[in-house]
């Protein structure tokens, strides 16, 4: 590779007055910013390697380290900012696709912040969730059009058969993160949190680690284009099976696990050679059309004896509404839609930041289309990609989703600072690295508590917002766009979102 001409992005300083040269920073930094110079008995710094993850600052016992964005800037230019210049330099040096991770970090694609929630005043009372029951239990799965009930000596007997359902104690689920994108300690933390919170963890495409088997009741297993680790036992293990067609962070391309992260453990789970890039095919090669999807859904249902719901996950793209309508008719029980701000363990920068549409628009248009066609009850909707807070989750349900997927949020709960270096396999917080000496930083017992705490806190906040608008059960929020108002949105955007402007 050619020599880099980029300036360091961060200044890293150690306050020598307080530093005791304990070498904690040398141990903590996985990007080798710090090294110990024995003769001088001091720490040397290579700030060009710093990714601004804050691991060293947090773990410095003397709080002697500071990291600041470098004050040296290129000449101000609206077109040619630091990022665009650096990206060009990087590609000129390497000749390759720019790889990145986490979700799109650009502004302007967010609608959550332009939607406001209603509350009750006078004509109907708000409900106090501390003193009154407040229900957030959610069932996902296909609903019959009608229940036929017959009377048998005073007992009502339901004659309509029931499709398999997923029961959620709270409408928040953990989105797919495969073994390989995150390590087993992270997966186990999430599985423990899912079990204690009464929700589900999607284990993604990468096989099932033996340590997760005991949480099988709370796992969703994924069938993606690479088909890594898919066999009958694997399908039988999960509470539901998800067919992954697309991912919000990189619609149109397959999974991407850089060779740096294919350790022996991962190579065994995925049955591929260690150290090679694991790039799943862009499409599933047995799904070139909707009828093929329908066949795969039914093949999975046959294999699992119609005992569990089948989820189809798609990325939010321009014609999501039409695609969702097809999926609802193809036999799927649940559709998961992943918005363009969704995160990833590795994706080409150009895909992450430019392809797809925001989840708010996708859910609004999908829910509207399914309603117009009278088939909304045939399928449940999970929304993912860009949900940052309980209010985002709340708003997406009001726009029409049944539940939401979170993943970045769960990683942040476990320490992630969104430095966007997952693809390097060096995650200093021990989350997305496969290096056992670093992944040990995640203790599932402790980290699962943080994740479960977060789910609990969000659930409480959702209950507060529900009670505020005088609703005591989450089903009365679903698609209840009357409870939302838009600010700073164009008329057409409001029409798509199905909301009125604030004030009327």
């Amino acid at each position: 590779m050619l020599r880099s001409r980029r300036l360091p992005e961060y200044n890293v300083r150690i306050d020598t007055d307080t530093c005791t040269v304990c070498k904690a920073c040398v141990i903590q930094c996985t990007f080798d910013v710090f090294s110990y110079m024995k003769i001088e008995n001091k720490i040397s710094i290579d700030e060009s390697k710093c990714v601004d993850c804050h691991r060293c600052m947090i773990y410095c016992p003397d709080k002697s380290i500071s990291i600041t964005p470098t004050p040296i800037q290129y000449r101000p230019n609206a077109s040619w900012n630091k990022e665009s210049i650096h990206n060009i330099m990087k590609q000129a040096e390497s000749g390759g696709i720019l790889l990145t991770s986490m979700g799109c970090d650009k502004p302007n694609y967010n609608y959550f912040d332009r939607l406001l929630i209603n509350a009750s005043q006078v004509t109907n009372p708000s409900i106090d969730p501390i003193r009154e029951p407040m229900e957030v239990k959610t069932y996902l799965g296909r609903k019959p059009d009608k229940l036929t009930i017959s009377d048998n000596n005073g007992d009502s007997i339901i004659e309509t058969s029931e499709s398999p359902q997923l029961l959620l104690e709270t409408p928040i689920m953990f989105s797919a993160m495969s073994l390989g994108s995150v390590n087993i300690n992270v997966q186990e933390s999430l599985a423990m949190a899912a079990a204690s919170s009464g929700t589900y963890q999607n284990i993604g495409e990468g096989g099932l680690h033996p340590r997760l088997k005991k949480y099988a009741k709370n796992l969703i297993v994924q069938v993606a284009s690479g088909r890594y680790g898919v066999h009958k036992k694997y399908l039988d293990t999960g509470a539901a099976v998800e067919i992954k067609i697309g991912q919000g962070a990189k619609p149109g391309i397959g999974g991407h696990l850089p060779g740096e992260k294919i350790t022996k453990e991962i190579s065994e789970a995925r049955r591929i050679p260690a150290g090679t890039d694991a790039i799943s095919p862009a499409p599933q090669h047995d799904i070139y059309s909707i009828e093929d999807l329908s066949q795969l859904i039914h093949a999975i249902k046959e294999a699992t004896e119609y005992s569990k719901p089948v989820i189809v996950k798609i990325a939010a793209v321009h014609n999501s509404a039409a695609i969702a309508s097809g999926i609802a008719r193809s036999g799927a029980d649940i559709i998961a839609i992943d918005g363009m701000r969704a995160s990833t363990g590795a994706a080409p920068l150009v895909m992450r930041d430019n392809v797809g549409i925001p989840i708010e628009m996708a859910i609004a248009s999908v829910d509207t289309r399914l309603n117009q066609e009278g088939i909304r009850d045939k399928i449940s909707i999970i929304a993912g990609g860009g949900i940052r807070s309980s209010s985002d989750a709340f708003k997406i349900i009001a726009l029409g989703a049944d539940a939401c997927y979170i993943s970045t949020v769960a990683l942040i709960a476990m320490g992630c600072t969104v430095c966007q270096k997952c693809h390097t396999g060096k995650c200093p917080w021990g989350l997305t690295t496969m290096n056992p000496s670093i992944s040990i930083r995640i203790n599932p017992k402790m980290e699962s508590k943080r994740v479960a705490n977060l789910v609990r806190a969000w659930t409480l906040e959702i209950k507060d917002m529900l009670g505020g608008m005088g609703i005591n059960s989450i089903e009365s929020l679903r698609g209840n766009r009357h409870q939302l108002r838009g600010v700073g949105l164009s008329e057409q955007e409001m029409e798509i979102l199905g909301v009125r402007p604030a004030g009327i």
């Binding site: 009372p125 009154e132 029951p133 229940l147 009278g374 909304r376 005088g470 209840n480 009357h482």
Partner: protein
């Protein structure tokens, strides 16, 4: 037109509104109605919801009384009871539903129609004539002496449907279609009740005032509902008053449904149109969907509108738990969330229900064969001081009053 009614009085006509509704998948609409349903009902919405709020909010008093032997009785008591709860209303809308009203025409569809003006009257009368066999029609008798407000023209028609011309479309659906067609015509004609041997009387005014205008003391019925209104965001319009009728069911309602958006979206998916933008309309449409189309008994419907809490469902026996769980999952979007109490009625049936937290009042009482439902106990005691039994139903617990079997209506 002047006609002699069953009780010998000459009657004038008045107006009605009917609330709309149709189901695209199940009801075959005529081409003209199909075109109409794609357009907003501007005239109806403008009158009922002039400020274009998302929905019309009102608070109210409700009252219902039924003789289980279907013995006919006059409306004096219910008028007095309703008037005794005037502090729950503001005089901007009252109404009554009466069952067993037209024994002479018991097997004819009794249309109550309100017209904005003479032109509408001519159009509406022709419309009815061309679509139904009119047995008899007349103005609804009204006493507007001393009333200084605009009173729409009200007329009633007793009709048959000539089934031979109907190509297997069921009578109900034909009737619904025609009411829809009339109410979406934009001509200023509104059907506000169309059932057999029953009728709705309603308008802008206090309960005693509306009773006087419609000369309700001259009618008898075995089941009466009344409603008095406190609209907070709509200007008074005669069609906006309760009860709301659909075929032979009627609903009176007190409260505000916070789940309105969800409920409405669901009903619209099922092909209904929410023309009046009121919670009450939601109840009426949901009742039609569950009762007529899904053939569910009222006991079950009450559990859909106001289901038990999940934590209570979990404590029930397995068969009960399974039933209630399936009901909640399947009909989740018809859970009526937020404060409400309603009374809905049909021939031989009167049901009272309050929301599951009981944020609106409903009291049940009995005296011999007379069953009463009211917003307030005081209103019952006012007319029947020596009641045998009073019951304060819990939230979500339906009070179901049925007539004894064997009495023809």
């Amino acid at each position: 037109m002047m006609i002699i009614t069953h009780n010998g009085h000459i009657i004038a006509i008045r107006y009605i509104y009917v609330f709309q509704f149709f189901n695209s998948s199940e009801i075959k609409l005529s081409e003209s109605a199909r075109q109409l349903v794609n357009k907003p009902l501007k005239s109806v919405q403008r009158q009922n919801n002039p400020y274009k709020d998302e929905k019309v909010i009102d608070s109210c008093s409700i009252f219902g009384m039924m003789d289980q032997n279907k013995k006919l009785f006059a409306g004096n008591d219910i008028i007095e009871a309703s008037a005794s709860m005037n502090q729950r209303a503001n005089g901007l809308g009252s109404g009554y539903a009466v069952y067993g009203l037209y024994p002479k025409y018991w097997n004819n569809y009794a249309f109550h129609i309100m017209y904005d003006d003479k032109e509408a009257l001519d159009w509406g009368s022709k419309f009815i004539e061309s679509n139904f066999d009119i047995i008899f029609d007349e103005e609804i008798p009204m006493d507007i002496h001393g009333i200084h407000k605009h009173v729409p023209i009200m007329r009633r028609y007793f009709t048959n449907i000539d089934l031979d011309n109907l190509d297997e479309i069921k009578e109900d659906e034909y009737l619904v279609n025609k009411c829809l067609e009339m109410n979406t015509s934009g001509k200023g004609a509104y059907v506000f009740s169309s059932g057999k041997n029953m009728g709705v009387f309603k308008g802008v005014g206090w309960p005693q005032e509306i009773a006087k205008i419609f000369r309700l003391d001259e009618y008898k019925g075995y089941l009466w509902l009344s409603h008095s209104r406190f609209p907070t965001n709509s200007r008074a319009w005669w069609g906006g008053a309760h009860p709301f009728a659909h075929l032979e069911s009627t609903v009176v309602h007190n409260g505000e449904i916070s789940s309105y958006g969800t409920n409405r979206r669901f009903l619209e998916m099922k092909g209904y149109r929410c023309t009046f933008q009121t919670d009450t309309e939601i109840f009426a449409l949901a009742l039609d969907y569950l009762q007529r189309k899904h053939q569910l008994p009222v006991e079950i419907i009450a559990k859909i509108f106001a289901p038990p809490l999940w934590k209570d469902i979990e404590k029930m026996s397995e068969s009960e738990r399974n039933l209630l769980r399936r009901l909640r999952i399947t009909y989740d979007k018809l859970l009526m969330n937020g404060p409400f109490s309603i009374i809905f009625a049909n021939h031989g049936l009167m049901v009272g229900l309050a929301d599951r937290l009981k944020l609106r009042p409903i009291i049940a009482a009995r005296r011999k064969d007379m069953l009463l439902l009211s917003s307030e106990e005081a209103a019952i005691i006012k007319i029947l001081p020596d009641i045998d039994d009073v019951h304060h139903p819990k939230g979500g617990e339906p009070v179901i009053a049925r007539c004894h079997e064997g009495f023809a209506s």
